[in-house]
Amino acid sequence: PSVLAGYCLMLGDDALVASERISEWCSRAPDLEEDIALANIALDLLGQARLLLARAAAADPSVVPALPGDSPVPDEDRLAFFRDDQQFRNVRLAELPGGDFAEIITRILLLATWRLALFERLTRSSDAVLAAVAAKGVKELTYHRDFAGRWFLTLAQGTDESRRRVIAALGELMPYWAELTETHPVEAAAAAAGAGVDPADVADEVDGVLGQVLSVSGVERPETAPRAGIQGRTGRDGVHTEALSRMLAETQSVARAHPRGRW
């Protein structure tokens, strides 16, 4: 795939897969306000995913799975529903199976902190579509980060149990952090082309923001080593956890049963 398409798939798949995990909370949140807020975040990410997948398809039609000739399924849906897990380019952090409320809050905090810093720079992308997606996304991600940051603080300072849980969640998720912050060759190439942003360029900012949330919350940053991949390959290379193919079996089931369907 072209660099731009590959880059859009990365950012789009992060959003799509995280949206899926967050929307699993629908009708299951601790109270209605959080149910609504989590649905909002899932909807924002789903919106970002749609734009990014469409951009990937336009940038390089060869990334779009083929379907029977008369299939009316649009590109965004072909990409979402007709790729196997190994063709997804999201970080593993996005796909981990759901934990408790502390886990989803911490996960949103990590993803949104990184993505917001990235999108702020991406507003100056040489690709006008990416720049526009980023501009719209910045407002959304600011809300996601603030929502998650407020809850992280609340849980960290709430009860002993909530503190224990949020610290455990952070410990479980941080090993996946490096996958976001280390530069992947496709990111480097996209940045070199002026279309993308090298995560290295936002590393300090992201670390600073995260450090501030932790510090206000009185939580130490855990000293965890990065979770290994396989021969150096991780989510961005299509090497995922066991959870992703299981998730896709469910999310893709109806679409795949009707490759010529109209919805």
């Binding site: 799509l16 899926e20 929307s23 699993e24 629908c26 009708s27 299951r28 949140a29 601790p30 109270d31 209605l32 306000e33 959080e34 149910d35 609504i36 649905a39 909002n40 899932a42 909807l43 789903l46 919106g47 995913a49 749609r50 997948l53 399924v73 649009p74 965004e76 849906d77 979402a80 529903f81 408790d100 409320f101 603080l153 609340t154 849980l155 300072q157 709430g158 009860t159 149990e161 909530s162 849980r165 469910e250 999310t251 089931s253 109806v254 679409a255 009707h258 010529r260 369907g261 109209r262 919805w263």
Partner: protein, 310 residues
């Protein structure tokens, strides 16, 4: 007695009773029960549709469905707020729901078995809900009536979206058309049951109508729904599963077959296909969230103490 006269006068003028106004205790209790039941229905109603969010067959439909289920949470929120003006908290009501002490609309005790059900629920179930609810916009209790205005607006939007999904599927493959028909076959009768038992078996209707909490009888609303829906079914190209359904020139209304009231009472009584599942799901979410609500309360208390200290 003076208070009661003022209350009766308010009803007589079709004015709104407001939370600060005096009201008879039975009126209050009936209202709390009705609004709570309605709020519970919105919250439980998130489940049958929520069942398909993860499997929505297009990203556009996923967004529409997620937003719709989110709206239902919002409706629940307004309605619980209305009960709070009557002095009953959301926590109390949720506990009555998960303990089985309070009910919700029986339609949600039916399962959703295909993606077409998302459309059918929008078309038939939301359609029936709207028939029930539009009159409630003019209900005597102010906060309830105002909540209903907002809810009805959103429900109409949902209904159109549901109908549009079915319409789109009918333009799709043969399998999709069969899915729509099968879904309508399952939901038609339960939708008719949504208007409640026949008038002669609905003892509370008279009092509720006198209080302006209810403005039409069950059978009136049911007839209105049937008459409204038949042409929509034709436009869609589906058959409603009732051989007795026919236009009656004389009554200028549709005749229709007998509802299976035995099934109705079984489902109302707790033995429907999903009663146990729905309440268990809600109870689990509520129980699982207890530590979070406690943390939020503890945090708020600490914040207050810090502010007082400062």
């Amino acid at each position: 007695a003076e208070l009661e006269a003022h209350f009766e006068a308010t009803l007589a003028h079709k004015d709104r009773v407001e939370p600060r106004d005096w009201m008879p205790e039975r009126y209050r209790r009936t209202l709390v029960r009705q609004i709570a039941q309605h709020a519970h229905s919105e919250i439980i109603g998130m489940q049958p549709e929520g069942n398909w969010i993860s499997r929505a067959p297009s990203l556009r439909r996923k967004a529409i469905l997620l937003a719709k289920v989110q709206d239902e949470a919002g409706h629940g929120l307004y309605l619980y707020s209305a009960t709070e003006t009557l002095g009953v908290t959301r926590t109390e009501l949720t506990e009555r729901l998960v303990s089985g002490a309070q009910k919700y609309s029986s339609i949600f005790n039916y399962p959703t078995l295909s993606y077409a059900d998302v459309g059918t629920i929008g078309w038939l179930v939301d359609g029936a809900a709207i028939c029930n609810q539009v009159p409630l916009c003019r209900t005597s209790f102010g906060p309830y009536g105002r909540a209903m205005i907002r809810i009805c607006k959103e429900e109409s939007f949902h209904q159109r979206q549901g109908y549009e999904l079915l319409m789109t599927m009918m333009r799709g493959t043969d399998e999709q058309r069969a899915m729509v028909q099968e879904s309508v076959d399952r939901f038609w009768w339960p939708s008719l049951m949504m208007f409640g038992p026949p008038d002669d078996a609905s003892p509370n209707t008279a009092q509720s109508m006198a209080w302006g909490i209810k403005t039409h009888t069950n059978d009136e609303l049911r007839q209105r729904f049937v008459d409204m829906t038949v042409p929509q079914a034709e436009a869609l190209g589906v058959t409603l599963p009732d051989p007795e359904l026919a236009w009656n020139e004389e009554r200028a209304a549709h005749d229709f077959g007998e509802i299976d009231w035995d099934e109705f009472w079984r489902v109302v009584g707790g033995d429907g296909p999903c009663n146990a599942q729905r309440v268990a799901h809600r109870k689990k979410a509520w129980d699982d969230g207890a530590w979070v609500r406690e943390a939020a309360t503890a945090f708020a208390r600490k914040q207050e103490q810090q502010q007082e200290a400062a």
